[in-house]
Symmetry: C2
Subunit: 329 residues, 2 copies
């Protein structure tokens, strides 16, 4: 009796950033983070998991191609370690087929949506219904994946161990659904450091990191308040300052890490210029040059026009707030 499930999940964009782990293997973050889950109708990973009746080497397919994916192998190992006693069927061969509806070359992190869809499908196979546990299982693949299981506004409580490190929903999509993420896809021309390697380097070498961790604790409170009150101005300022500060600790790492480039800087300048007579938008940058420019629906056209006027922005992807991961089959 084969168990088989398919789930979809959207990426999420962190407004309070996660960059650095207490535990590299179990992906336990150094600090709480806050994100918006994006719209699964715009950007999504779709993953099918099959737990076969037979034994044998697992099989992984990505976008229709058979691959040997180290991160998924590690995730399967960690999942079995966690769940095998309760679910002996996990001894069996597992087949995974995963695909993204967005090209990986756009620089949009697919690991959050990918591992969240994987965790959601696996939980369906095993009959696990608690979202908290789904979040823990997603986290074992990629820290930020822990947040994509919920829709709306989400907080990953860093915790101190594998049990108390999981995400919770702050507010559902309905609380504040006129928020949009305009992703400005920027041509990359600079070598990249993987997020995993980058954050290990920052934790190990940046002398500014403990100042940042102290600051995050305070910013977290302000950001939760801004979300609760639907105070866009405060939210935008906090997200921009947090993004800048994370990139500052990257630059303070040794050797230094740069993810933003001249086009990213032009976007930063343009947003600040647009905000001169009142906050219109906020930017945030992950481990790459692409900008996520967050705004309210009423300013969407203005923000799109501003971004399309910047040389080096190759295209825009616009996403509203999403509903979180779900089983589709």
């Amino acid at each position: 009796m084969t168990r088989k499930s398919t789930a979809i999940s959207a990426p999420n964009i962190a407004l309070l950033k996660y960059w650095g782990k207490k535990d590299d293997l179990l992906k336990i973050a150094l600090n709480d983070s806050i994100s918006i889950t994006l719209d699964e109708n715009v950007l999504r990973s779709k993953t099918t998991i099959e737990i076969l009746d037979s034994f044998g080497a697992d099989e992984i397919g990505l976008n229709g191609k058979k691959v040997n994916d180290e991160k998924i192998n590690e995730w399967l190992m960690l999942v079995r370690k966690r769940l095998l006693k309760k679910y002996p069927v996990l001894k069996n061969k597992i087949k995974i087929e995963s695909e993204n509806n967005f090209p990986t070359s756009t620089g949009i992190a697919s690991s959050a949506s990918g591992f969240c869809a994987l965790a959601t499908a696996l939980c369906a196979c095993l009959g696990i219904e608690k979202r908290e546990e789904m979040s823990r299982i997603a986290r074992l693949g990629s820290g930020s994946a822990s947040r994509s299981v919920y829709g709306g506004f989400v907080q990953w409580k860093a915790g101190t161990n594998t049990e108390n490190s999981f995400a919770v929903q702050i507010k559902p999509k309905e609380h504040w659904d006129d928020i949009y993420d305009v992703i400005a896809v920027v041509d990359e021309g600079i070598k990249k450091v993987s997020s995993k390697d980058g954050m290990e380097k920052t934790v190990r070498s940046s002398r500014l990191m403990h100042c940042r961790l102290a600051e995050i604790k305070k910013r977290r409170v302000r950001m939760l308040r801004a979300i609760g009150k639907r105070d866009f101005d405060s939210l935008a300022i906090e997200m921009m300052r947090d993004s800048n500060q994370m990139h500052a600790t990257m630059l303070d790492s040794w050797p230094p890490i740069f993810y933003m480039n001249d086009v990213s800087r032009e976007i930063v300048y343009s947003v600040h210029e647009t905000n001169l007579n009142g906050i219109v938008a906020g930017y945030t940058f992950d481990a790459g040059p692409n900008a996520h420019v967050i705004c309210q629906k009423k300013n969407l056209e203005k923000v799109k026009g501003m971004l399309l006027g910047i040389k080096g922005v190759s295209r825009l992807i616009v996403s509203g707030v999403g509903n979180g991961s779900k089983v589709v089959k």
Copy 2:
């Protein structure tokens, strides 16, 4: 009886950076800084001061053109406040004529060499011979000018007030004279924030600044030791990390300040690549995209070749260690 003197001074390049003041008017730095004075035969400001017999509005000429320079006016005001009692002749009209042998468009800070030459010429007019006092007077024009009065390796002791804030020589040029600064002039394409405005912004808004100040105290000790022992490897690492950390606090300022651009980043990557099998060079960046790449004479050609291979580097200026400011007439 007109008093008239002409002095020259070279810029200096800080290896331990000054970015932030305790006192904006009197230019009292938040932290000690360490620099190398550049070769006055390569880069220099030349300034003539004339204290006339008559009264009247001061006259300032820059590179042959009559100007109304706010910074020089402020300096004259501060100098008179400090010295008028002892030197009543300062009531009289002052004529200043200043010129640089390098175009200001290269982005090399001319305020350090300019104000140091001014202070040196003024001290000659008044018969002030103590270098410490010359350093204080230069500081009143531009903080970093306090360091250019000495040759070789120099430390500006930040102090707490206008009396105990001045530079001293750590080691003369002869101590370690095979050190070179290869300045890679980078085409600028991004708006600039003046150093004065930039550092005020950083002090006011960067939450990482107090971490940096704590780090500088420790780095200062390591850097002085490296200079004392002529330990180039340690010196290069300390200077690179200090420069990166200063630019990190700039990025953490609000709104953020960027001085480095994509070409600067390519230079950083190239230096790290060149250093993979042993330290060859160290970089440091002031408030602009130009790189100062410091190396020993034996590696000068290698470093020049590396920098000339980077797209966006428009030219190189090579300077050894200089002798400090001096009166020439």
